[in-house]
Amino acid sequence: MLEIFELAFMQRALITGIILAVVLSYLGILVILRKMSFFADGIAHSSLAGVAIGVLASFYPLLSAIAFSLLMGLLIYYLEEKSKLSSDTIIGIIFSSGLALGAMLMSFKSGYQPELISFLFGNILAITWLDLIIIATVGFLIVLFVKLYYKKLVLISLNKDLAQAQGLKGKSLKLFFYLALSTAVVLAIKVLGLILASALLIIPVATAKSFSKSLKHLNFLAIFIGIITVFLGLLLSYYFDLSTGPTIVLLGAVFFFFSLLFKKD
């Protein structure tokens, strides 16, 4: 059964999937605590414009998508700080305008666009060694930086005033987290597609939450569930000839609904 992982493209898919499961589940805890799942969705969808810029300019689309998403993360932060608009409204505008810009730019490219479909719905089996190296390097840096500031980020997510009164710099920590999250979400678009990219941020953490005794336990369990979901999703999609991204997401959703049945309190 596991001999499929002797295939180079499956090895790349598995390693990339596991890296993303670790990065996204780890950040997902803060996303759920801060109620920021719409932010992740907004960034993922708006990154279509970044992908389109890369495709049109014949530039590596994952990098242009990362650059564009960082810009969008910065814009959301700036508008939240400087305008009186709610975060929900700001993200809603970024979400739809980024997606619209991407669709418009893509229409300038004639003929069948396999890369567009690949970025919309993801194609983990088409991951190249270059993709893997970029996802691994950027993912490692995100986890490293978030780990360094983890306690501070949790504290500021729980109560901003309390954290600032304890001497933490609320605004710079928030900006830092927005940029880390924007980058992490876009790393997943090659695998899950921009439509499903935020799923690995939310579902493993939501599943693990009701079984966790502590934050430390939640960290471990969410990452474990994320890895298992990716691994089994890959196997199922291969043997039943299903789209890999949607299979991983649906399997995660099945785990989540089972967790509701078996949770203790």
């Binding site: 501070k152 600032q164 304890q166």
Partner: protein, 236 residues
């Protein structure tokens, strides 16, 4: 003469073009318990947040003889007004306290939990505690760094009567045993009479400052809360 714990001179706070506080002047001696009273929107929380540098202000604030500027707040603890989050988020009391950047020695966690009689809840999930218990944990985090001046913003909101009584007993213990100067905003005038050495009456401006039994007059109450407000003084 005792040292001043807090000195506020000509303090004004303007938020979005609205004067939330104007020309506030008062001072507290070390070891006093002070209550900030006034109706909703009077600026009680704003005053605390200005002192904690969470909001911009004009005027002069001195804390424990030092100007309120530079890196970090010196010997100051804070218990915020609201503390609610996802009820299933599994953060334990011990984890929450260990995240305090002012914590130097983890043994201080046990010590502060014992102070607020919550040591048995060290490994409990914070979100599962009652309102009164959460408030005690917030006091535990505030006293981790052994503050000389402690600010509490509407600390008994959402706490039942027995929880409230226990809460004020802890505050009194911190004040009497550790000599901590306490500043708390409150709606409970009966508690102000019972526990506070000084009352500061606010409604955008300052209407009184002094001993609660002498300062809170019918006239002051009417200015704060409108006419038909009953005056029920309590003795210590």
């Amino acid at each position: 003469m005792k040292d001043k714990a807090l000195e506020i001179k000509n303090l004004s706070v303007n938020l979005g073009g609205i004067n939330v506080l104007q020309n506030i002047n008062f001072s507290l001696e070390k070891g006093e318990i002070a209550a900030l009273v006034g109706p909703n929107g009077a600026g009680k929380s704003t005053l605390i947040k200005a002192v904690l540098r969470l909001l911009p202000y004009k005027g002069e604030i001195n804390i424990l003889g030092r100007a309120n500027k530079g890196k970090g707040l010196y010997k100051v603890g804070y218990v915020p007004q609201y503390f609610s989050f996802d009820l299933e988020f599994p953060l334990t009391v011990n984890e929450f306290l260990s995240f305090n950047p002012k914590l130097k020695d983890k043994r201080e966690i046990d010590k502060s939990l014992k102070e607020v009689e919550m040591f048995d809840y060290k490994d409990s999930k914070l979100a599962k505690l009652s309102g009164g218990q959460k408030q005690r944990i917030l006091i535990a985090q505030a006293i981790l760094s052994d503050p000389e001046l402690l600010f509490l913003d509407e600390p008994t909101t959402g706490i039942d009567a027995s929880g409230e009584r226990g809460f004020y007993e802890i505050i009194e213990h911190l004040n009497k045993v550790h000599g901590t100067t306490i500043v708390m905003s409150s709606h409970e005038l009966s508690m102000v009479y019972k526990y506070a050495d000084k009352v500061i009456c606010l409604n955008q401006e300052m209407y009184c400052s002094g001993d609660p039994n002498k300062t809170i007059t019918k006239d002051v109450l009417e200015k704060l809360y409108g006419k038909d407000t009953e005056l029920k003084p309590h003795s210590h």
